[in-house]
Structure formats: structure tokens, C-alpha cells
Amino acid sequence: MSVFLLIIVLGVLAIAGFVLGRRRALSSVDGNTRRLHSLPGYYAWHGAIMAFLPAMAVLTLWLIAQPLVIERQLADYFPAEQFENDSQRILLMADVRRVAEGLDVAVAAGALTPQEAETITVADGSVRERLGAVGVALGSEVTPEVLDAAQSYRALASTGALGRAIVTLIAALAGLAYALRITHGDFRARNRVEAVILGVLILASTIAILTTVGIVMSMLSETIRFSSMYPFKDFLFGLTWQPSFQGNSELGLLPLLWGTLYISLVAMIVAVPTGLFTAIYLAEYASPRVRSVIKPLIEVIAGIPTVVFGLFALVTVGPFLRDWFAVPTGLGSSGSSVMTAGLVIGVLNIPFISSLADDIINAVPQSLRDGSYGLGATKSETVRQVILPAALPGIVGAILLAASRAIGETMIVTMGAGAAAKLDMNPFEAMTTITVKIVSQLTGDTEFNSPETLVAFALGMTLFVITLGLNIFALWVVRKYREQYE
């Protein structure tokens, strides 16, 4: 039975559990729901969960364990020293699995009869070619050991599949039977179901952790590789960023970091007041109709692709700032600048602050506003002194989100601020950010195994650590100043 089919069967059993659990609970109290500990629906769900979850767990375990067990069994086909070596074993097993799967495909496609697949040997002509004909790519010609191992693998796998189906079904039926046995009026079905839901909730929140682990893992090894090619100290404290094709690049982080912080700062100076004032106006001053029109409109800004904003920065904002501010004040003549990118990113981030903050402000209970108005406070005083402090944690969250987007923005910076890595105080100078360089180093033309490319991972890691620090700081601020209403 294929895994897919097995899961469908489990689904059917779960439905059975649902119906039977409910029926059993009701009959145990002669239909008098008041005598049930929990609502009948909970008994139903309990039945479904018990039929499905344990069996699913068994299935998952089996799916993980089976390859390991089979691998152990195949040790005889290969020389011990080859098999002991981890990386060689992995390659060998990959080969074996590919050939075995190839044989399966060939049988399914009718290119081989099942008997042929079991008995075929290298002597019967190129296995690679025959499998290639049915669309299975093999890197090289199949060796006799691999072929034998693959055939043995197939045999073991089919036995395994049978065992898997039997064990899983037994688990499902046992779960179902258990659920029905313990189902009676006093059984705390709700607590059980809620415990499962809680488990699901916990699982969901570990996704975030797993994502982080994934990100760190996928960048760490390359970062380490980078540090073996380029002194990490020079990377962290270097003042010049000048990669080149000939090698001997200078890959100093600081100019990029400075650009990142500077541009984000400008962006936040634009986005935070604008976003907050927008939110305040919408939540406190605007009529519901105005609000229900303007809020979605502003949210459209968040959906405009950043390329468009990038072009806007490049074609409109850049020259405008250059001709009206930079040149008259003698601050430079660069069309692309920190200011340009910062302004445009700021605008792009307005909806993130305005919409989220608006919701939070709206959630502050009316009684607090009444309390303040009743004392003769103006709306603005109420907002500043009562509502904003009460809404602080949410607002900080919104600001952090906007800041995060500013730090992570690529397109606008490339077009608006240029690609020049520079350490400069002048906001009308072209600069660039870490994110831009991550993208450009990753997608360029140089070979992958060079420090010029790998530095992208080191940049990613460093950015990760830096933003972590910023976030810890923000959490501390919120803890210190939050005001919990009611």
C-alpha cells in the first residue's frame, strides 16, 4: 500500500472515529448531553484524533527508520572500509536508491517485467541506458555491487511497505478501540482534545524556531568556508569594500553596515511619524467611512512591487533631491543617495506602521478615552498620554516590522542609493547596504567557491546577529515602558 493510500485509509478511520466517538458518548448517557463531561463534539474529535494521530506517528517513525534499517542490511554488498566512511556510504546509498527507484519506474513504465527487474545483471547490457530510456538519470554506469544492492533494496523495501501498512493500520485500529473504550460520560474528552490542539499550537510556534535554525544552518557552513578563505577580522572591521575579479578583494563590512543603518534610519525617520500620525488620525479623528476608504488605499502601497518604487527613486526622487537640495547646498551632485533610498523606503513602509498601529489603537478600550476626555483633555493629549502608552507594545512591534523591512530592502536601495560602498556622513552621497550586496554577490558572475561569493553568507550571518541585538533592545524597551490596561 502506498503511503498516500495509507494516509487516505487513516483519514477514513478518523472519520469513523469521529462518528463512533460521538455516538458512543451519547449512548453512554442515554442521550442526555447534560451528563456528559464535555460537549458531544469533543468526543467525536477525540475518536478521530485517536484513530489518526498515533497511527500517523507510527507511520512517520517507520518512514524515518526504514531507510536506516535497510542501509544496515546492505552493508554486505560493499567493502567494509568503503561502508564505514560516512561520505562514501552516503554516495553509495544514493546510487543504490536511485537505481532501485529507477527499476521501479522501469517496471511501472513497462520497460522491464518485474522478474527482469529482480534478475537483471550488468551482463544484460547497460542498465544506465535502459533506465535512461524511461527518464531516470544515472550519473554513471551501474556497478554490479550497486545493482545487486539495489535489487536487494527493492526486496527489503517491498517487505517494509507491507509491514508499514500492517503496523500503521493496527495502530489506527488500536487507537480507535482505545478511544471508544474510554469514552463514557465522565471521560474528559475536552481536556484531551484541547491538549492535542495545544500540541498543534506548540508545533506551529516551533516553526519559527526551525526557520531560524534552518537559516543559521544554511548560512553558517558557508560563512565558515568564507572565513577560511578571507580573514574574518578584516571582514568585520575592514573599512573598504572593493571586491574584484582578480582576487585580492577587500571585503570590509563596515561601509555596508554604515549604509544599512544610515538608510534605515532615514527610512524610519520618514515612516514612523508619517505612519503613526496616519494611524492616529484614522483611529481617532477620521469618520468610519473615511477610515474604511483610506486604510485599504494606503495598504495598496505595501503591494506595489519594490521595482516600481526603485524606478521611482531613480527617475523622480533622485534627480529632484539632487537638483533642489544637494546641489544648492553644495552637498554633492549624486543622483542616487542615502536620502533618496531612505525617503522611498520610508514611504513604502508607511502602511506597515499605519495599519498595524491603527488596529492596536482601535483596540484600546473606549473607557480610557472617556476617562481622559472627562478630565478636559484634548484629543491629542489623550492620544499622546493615554492611548499611545497603552498601545505601546503593539506599536513597537509595528515599528520593528517596518525597520526590518527597511533593513531587508534590496531593489530600492540598488536603484535609489547606488551600489557604492562608502563610509560617509553626507546623506546626499551614494551608499549601499548589506542586503544589496548579499543579492549582488550571490547572483553575479564569479565562481561560487570564491570569497567574493561566499561573503554573501557571512554578510547574511552578520546582519542576522545585528538585528538580533536590535530586537533584544526593543524588547527591553517595551518591557520597561508598557502600560497594561484593565
Binding site: 527518464g135 554513471s140 575579479f245 582578480q246 557604492a420 549582488s440 565562481e447 561560487f448 567557491n449 561569493t453
Partner: protein, 328 residues
């Protein structure tokens, strides 16, 4: 998987899509999927291994390196075919309403080098006008939009223009004189490194994006000189005025004839292990290098590809599935 998957250079991308599209129309195979993303990234993807969840072809605007080949081999990609199918010209162009420019490598080096030779000494680049160092050039402020350091184009730009210009102005010799290094080779390398350092005072702007960005920047700042691919220029002749290099106007003909110096070969790399596995792969590469496509009158040439004079040899190689030998 029943479609061919191609990834790699954004320079080769348009050629690749033109071929893929025609291939899809004229054959019963599905149209290949072609990705951009850069030559280096493309080769890295190709070298990830063999199997249907890896790509079949990597486009590249520069030649593969031994290091990449080693990675390939380590991942089981032992047989790779290198197909050179033409050349890409690189042109220098300014706003169509601006003055004419006639460049030499020396001019560009004088305009862009971080340090240049002046009166027999190395000085930090003092030039702010093109006419500062060459009175034949327009009295216009220097501003060059050069390709970003991660682009293949930059390498050609460095090698064929800046480095040549560095030699021509005598700056190279001056650099060599003060260069540090264990032996002559190291010294030469150091001097070359000095040559290709470009000024960072804003007169040289690296463009990390594509040619459209360069064009948009040029329209935002009309005094700029942009570096473009020949095909891009040919599609935008109404906005750009191309400069000559050593007196030669860039065109497919002048590049094919070897008169215009700034060009580079374009390649794609085929994973031979996939040839009989992925339906249509063999047909696709044969179609690509056929005269109907890559020939001098084919659509690729029409789009701006400089056809490879040795195309016939390439066609043979593709038909024979000759893997590439070790790099020399």
C-alpha cells in the same frame, strides 16, 4: 520531469529564451524553462549533482573555472560539454542628444582609474572633465556607469579597457616599478590590481542591476556614459549614442571581424549525464547551434549576437557529445 531546465547568465538569457521559444514551437517537446540569475550562480547550480531535480544546462558569459569543475566532479557531475555559441559586444554609449564620444582605452583609464599617470608620476585621479586629459574629447563632466563588480561584463571592461588603457598611458609601468611581490609574476599581478582600481569619488558609478537600470540612470543624468551590451544598444538606438573605441564603431560585423576590441565569448555548459534522460535535451542543443538559430543570419544574430565563426566545429562537437577536457 519532461522539460529541459536551463539556468545561468543574464547576458545569455535572451538568446536562450529565443531558442527555447522557437524550439517549443517547432518540436513536440515542451518549451525549456530558462532562468537568469548570473553565470556563477548558474554554474554552481549545475554542479550540485546529477538527477532530475538538478538543472541540465548552465548558461555562462565567462568560461567555467577549474574550481567550479572540481566542485562538479565532487558532486558526481563528471562529464560536462562546453558550447561556445557566439560573442557579446560591449559598447560605451551616451545620451543621444549629447556630444559624440570617440574613446580609446587610455581615455577611459584616465577618466576612471583611482590613480593615473600624470607627468610621469602616479597621482590620485585629478580629472573632472573629459577634456582635462584629452582636448579632443568634449568638455563634459566625467560620469561613467560601469558594470558592477559581480558582472561578467566588468571583467571584460577591466581587462580590455582599463588594463589596456593603464598600459597605454604608462601608468602600468609606474605601478610595476613600485609594486611589491616575490617574483615578477606577483609584481605584475599587483600592478594589474592597481590598474583596475577605479575611483570612488562618485565619477564612476557601479551598476549592480541590469542595462535597463543603466539606461534609466543615464536618462536621469544626461552627462553620464553607460556601458551596455551590443544587443541592448541596438534595441535602444533612439535613446543612445554609441561611442567608438579606437575609432571602430561597434557592430556585429566589426566585432566578428575582430576590429572592435571589447567583446567576450558566450557559452553554455551541458550536463552530459542528462542527455538521454531529459527528453528534448539533445535536440535543444543541436537546435541552438544550428545555422537557423546561431548562424550569422539567424534570429540570434538579428538580436545582437556576434555569430561564432567556428560554429560548424561546435555543431560537430554537439552531435558527438564531446565532453570538455581539463581547462588549460
Amino acid at each position: 520531469r519532461d522539460n529541459v531546465q536551463i539556468t545561468g547568465s543574464s547576458t545569455v538569457l535572451p538568446y536562450s529564451t529565443i531558442v527555447a521559444e522557437a524550439f517549443g514551437e517547432n518540436f513536440d517537446f515542451p518549451t525549456p524553462v530558462v532562468e537568469g540569475g548570473g553565470s556563477g550562480a548558474g554554474r554552481a547550480k549545475m554542479c550540485e549533482g546529477v538527477g532530475t531535480n538538478t538543472v541540465d544546462i548552465a548558461n555562462s558569459s565567462s568560461r567555467i573555472s577549474q574550481r567550479d569543475l572540481d566542485t562538479c566532479a565532487a558532486n558526481g557531475v563528471t562529464e560536462v560539454m562546453e558550447v561556445r555559441f557566439g560573442y557579446d559586444g560591449i559598447v560605451f554609449a551616451s545620451d543621444v542628444n549629447g556630444p559624440e564620444f570617440a574613446f580609446t582605452p587610455a581615455d577611459l583609464f584616465n577618466a576612471l582609474g583611482a590613480q593615473v599617470a600624470k607627468d610621469g608620476a602616479i597621482v590620485a585621479n585629478p580629472h573632472s572633465m573629459w577634456s582635462d586629459f584629452n582636448s579632443a574629447m568634449p568638455a563634459q563632466e566625467i560620469l561613467v556607469l560601469s558594470p558592477g563588480t559581480k558582472h561578467g561584463t566588468r571583467e571584460v571592461f577591466d581587462e580590455r579597457v582599463i588594463y589596456e588603457g593603464c598600459k597605454a598611458t604608462g601608468a602600468y609601468d609606474l605601478f610595476l616599478a613600485v609594486a611589491e611581490g616575490a617574483d615578477d609574476k606577483a609584481k605584475a599581478r599587483a600592478a594589474k590590481g592597481e590598474c583596475t582600481k577605479l575611483r570612488t569619488d562618485g565619477r564612476n558609478v557601479d551598476i549592480d542591476g541590469d542595462y535597463t537600470e543603466t539606461l534609466a540612470r543615464l536618462e536621469a543624468d544626461k552627462k553620464a556614459i553607460g556601458v551596455f551590451g551590443l544587443s541592448f544598444y541596438q534595441n535602444n538606438t533612439d535613446k543612445l549614442r554609441v561611442g567608438t573605441m579606437n575609432g571602430v564603431v561597434p557592430s556585429t560585423e566589426s566585432i566578428a571581424a575582430g576590429d572592435y576590441p571589447v567583446s567576450r565569448p558566450l557559452y553554455f555548459y551541458v550536463k552530459l549525464a542528462h542527455l538521454d534522460v531529459i527528453p528534448g535535451l539533445q535536440e535543444y542543443i543541436e537546435f541552438f547551434v544550428s545555422d537557423d538559430m546561431a548562424g550569422p543570419d539567424g534570429p540570434l544574430a538579428e538580436y545582437g549576437l556576434v555569430s561564432d565563426p567556428e560554429l560548424a566545429a561546435t555543431q560537430d562537437m554537439v552531435a558527438n557529445r564531446t565532453p570538455m577536457g581539463p581547462l588549460n
